[in-house]
Symmetry: C2
Subunit: 564 residues, 2 copies
């Protein structure tokens, strides 16, 4: 019976809809690019009422008669940017808590914290994120005592910029019961006061939940606000789709609630925060593309190691600046292979967080071992692929492993990476061109909220290996820059393919969604300096304008735009 019902529904779906209103967008300098970097230029496009592209036109092609028309005013149009690695709810929640990412010193941070606490007397906990002792030039971790001096009346918990360490005051440590006699959990580290066993204030990686689990959980209505704030920010950067790396069940429910209510704007490719969450959310396999290609559970995120800054990244040899330390292993060996197998056997995608040389090698080993069983259609991803042993770079190509990298990390991390690894072990560090040359599919992201999701900056870094100040002159290890075309593809078609969005979005071709951005300049023609000046003027998703730099018109339909 059910089968027959399905056939009936299928039959209904096949009845062609009556001709609906199409929209012509003309007078544009249109650019599309495939994931190999092949560029197509065009002068106009037409999308239908469902927001799908039905026609791409070249200069001189006769313009079709459509119900609506948008004048592109000669501007540059590129595919909507896709962030291949981010944390959507982390971004949104970060926008709702104390943001320390702009602080320039410990003193600056403490003053910011003190002011925030005074301005928010009703908050039982002071929660924040974004600190970076490297950026402060502190030469050590901040301490509970530092915090106690400015907030003593209630607990404080502040996540490091990379999410791999947390900074607590004494009140928070007390609530968490973290004392001199607390042992560091496996995969984590409680920083101790020198010459003592007493906790110093910072908890690394797997030790973080000792305090974090005591923080009052976010309410569903707060989550809804966080998602809205995250989406607002993303579309302002021209981002029309993002891979969410580490989706909790609560996150997923928040996405679905938004989808059900018509509040889901940005397309989300979700990777569950663990195998149990993946199975609960997906059930028999990845979900369908829901809400007109706005949400899909692709698979699972597995963490092999921590971050380089907190010395959690797994290295094949000792940290240069911490002899005897090689990082904190999270998952590996048989556990890793079992999780990967559990996911792959039901068609889920596996995205493996691997920062250090040992983690990358372990991930590649596991993929190679499982490769015989799960061959076609498995798009294995390694997230970050940050410090890869030179011998392993070629394996990305041989195994067809997606290198999901974050260009801006390179500029943020370069001094720290030099300190952690020393000058002689940087050959496979942030080695984008080598990875691409080896045949690895590239996908570019920001790791938002670890970095601000500025795709324009990401493009500039990818082609120059310089930061916003143009430092270092000529670029850091400039032999690993990529071409303008590779950079744009990494943030569009490459990122779409890496998240099973290909055929739906990522390119401006017939049949895909009309997700596009109007830019102030052509990123394939501009100098590095000029690239940095490119502005996102408008962002459109599925044929609907969702951001306008002029501050109005977003969300209006095409009719409003051409004044009819």
């Amino acid at each position: 019976m059910i089968r027959k019902l399905l056939l009936f529904f299928a039959a209904i779906a096949l009845v062609p809809a009556p001709a609906m209103a199409d929209t012509l967008v003309d007078n544009i300098n249109g650019i599309s690019i495939d994931r190999e970097g092949k560029v197509t230029r065009f002068a106009a496009l037409v999308f239908d009422e469902n927001g799908r592209i039905v026609q791409i036109l070249q200069m001189g092609d006769p313009l079709p008669r459509t119900e609506y028309r948008v004048d592109g005013e000669g501007r540059v149009m590129v595919p909507g940017f896709i962030d291949a690695h981010g944390h959507v709810m982390g971004l949104g929640m970060g926008l709702m808590v104390l943001d320390l990412s702009g602080t320039t010193s410990l003193e600056d941070a403490l003053a910011t914290i003190a002011a925030y606490a005074e301005a928010n007397p009703g908050r039982a906990w002071i929660i924040g994120r974004g600190w970076n002792q490297e950026k402060w030039g502190l030469g050590r971790y901040p301490t509970a005592a530092d915090l106690d001096a400015v907030v003593g009346d209630r607990p404080v918990w502040l996540e490091r910029v990379d999410g791999h360490a947390g900074w607590a005051n004494s009140s928070a440590l007390e609530i968490a019961g973290v004392t001199a006699s607390t042992t560091s959990p496996e995969g984590g580290r409680i920083e101790r006061i020198a010459g003592s066993k007493a906790p110093e204030g910072v908890l690394v990686d797997a030790a973080m939940p000792l305090v974090a689990d005591k923080v009052p959980a976010w309410r569903a209505d707060e989550r809804d606000v966080a998602l809205a704030k995250a989406q607002d920010l993303l579309v302002s950067q021209g981002i029309t789709a993002i891979a969410d790396m580490g989706t909790s069940v609560e996150d997923w429910m928040t996405f679905r609630r938004a989808g059900d209510d018509g509040r889901l704007v940005v397309r989300i490719m979700a990777y569950a925060t663990g195998v149990p969450e993946m199975v609960l959310i997906g059930g028999t396999g990845p979900t369908r593309w829901l809400y007109d290609d706005r949400l899909r559970l692709n698979g699972v995120k597995l963490y092999l190691d921590g971050a380089l800054g907190s010395r959690g990244a797994l290295l094949l040899e000792d940290y240069e600046d911490a002899p005897g330390q090689r990082g904190l292993p999270l998952i590996g060996g048989t556990d890793l292979r079992n999780f990967m197998s559990r996911a792959a056997m039901d068609g889920y995608q596996v995205a493996i967080h691997a920062i250090g040389t040992a983690a990358n090698r372990e991930a590649l080993d596991a993929i190679e071992e499982l490769g015989a069983t799960y061959t076609t259609e498995q798009r294995w991803r390694i997230e970050h692929a940050q410090i890869v042993h030179p011998d392993d770079i070629v394996r990305f190509g041989e195994l067809g492993v997606i290198a999901s990298v974050q260009p801006v990390h390179q500029t943020s991390d370069r001094l720290m990476a030099e300190a952690r690894l020393g000058p002689d072990r940087l050959t496979g560090a942030y080695a984008w061109r080598s990875l691409a040359a080896a045949g690895a599919p590239l996908a570019f992201g920001s790791d938002v909220p670890v970095e601000f999701p500025d795709v324009i900056d990401g493009l500039a870094v990818a082609i120059s290996r310089t930061d916003k100040s143009g430092e270092p002159f000529g670029g850091w290890r400039p032999e690993e820059t990529v071409s303008r075309e590779q950079a744009l593809a990494g943030f569009t078609a490459g990122a779409a393919w890496a998240g099973y969005g290909d055929g739906r979005f990522g390119r401006l071709v017939v049949g895909e969604r009309a997700d596009f951005v109007f830019l102030s300049d052509d990123p394939l023609m501009a100098s590095v300096t000029d690239t940095r000046e490119i502005a996102v003027l408008e962002t459109w998703i599925g044929g609907v304008k969702v951001y306008d730099a002029n501050g109005d018109g977003a969300g209006e339909d095409a009719m409003a735009d051409d004044g009819r």
Copy 2:
């Protein structure tokens, strides 16, 4: 920006769709009924392509020209039946495990179990349900030793028909670690061998998880099959909507997966199995009606007591057949009120399981206390309302509490209820007419899979208080029968209102969904004996035929039916 986008979507929705294909169903003896029991008869109806009724026609009204036409062949049409209390996944899973509900004696059951074990050598556990020592006339609980005699090589776990007790063999008890030294958890009871502390084999209520938690969890693909089987069975009984009482997160994900895939046929009004599950699923409040009014999380199910058969029901006085026992309290007091408040403050509905007199009084007390805070729109439900103290019946009306009752329970339970309560405490037992007369909104259900979801039988019991054999002659406490109209309303409009389905389904009126059943006779005109003979000929949900007793045509569209 998001707000503007929403406005844009809203504007799109307001554009009237072009005229779509309507379907006329004529030549029918149509019956609709409101929840007060007021009957409307009609001769034809028209529904649109979305499955919504757009016209109701009387004999002699000019027939509209429509694209499609279905000849009702003079048959009786009633609104689709709604089961106000069931367990959808329990039904489906029950259809996938050993079914003991048809067994007539312990020996019969043991033979069935032995045959099943032999036929399923690959199953690591033998799982089943449906046994009833009362029906067997056993005079005691079955034991592990009984089971060991037929299955000794692997664990066996069999749930009682009411789901409030489980029967384990020695292997299962061993795996669960249930021994003479295991204490019964609060709210549960480990039955012991007389003159010993050794477990006898049956675990009641809160003791059940000791074994049940060791049973391998259902896989997602098994859950999908279970849901499909449940739906097939429900539509064969004319059931087009059901309240799911105790939805787990896994259940909810199964429903959503079906909805996303277009496999959700029956409308489900879901009540989460606890407050944490409710909050995780619903987030900020009840979900919207999803999938064209096929799924909504309404709120939460709270359990105040167990069942009468297992002496878990909470009584104000001792069990007649077990002096000193008054049942097993599950939630009550401040906990109950806090849970109710947590739900009500976000607009969730609360359905309170209350079987015994003390549980019903506790539920009413809590509702009365909270009533001052949560007045309008809170449709408090008491599930079962089985044995109500005569003084409390009027309070259902005063407080506007929905009495969600299961007529067939009365016939299954009457001998057991007489034994448990004695003859003098039956005045408020299964007191449907008194509850209705007091002003309680009535909603009728089956408690499937505790009872087979046979609505026709439910109607016959409701109006006669006799079982399928016509016993007892003249009905058991016949002063508590309801009218034919009340009975039909309880299984249609009353059940819809109790689950916030009113205005969407439950009646055959313009604007509601075309959910209807063709019956072989008129349940408002037939004698009790003739009522029992009524057959469900076809079941339609949202204008689509989903069941045909002739075994074909289900799922075909209207075109196929009228041969064009």
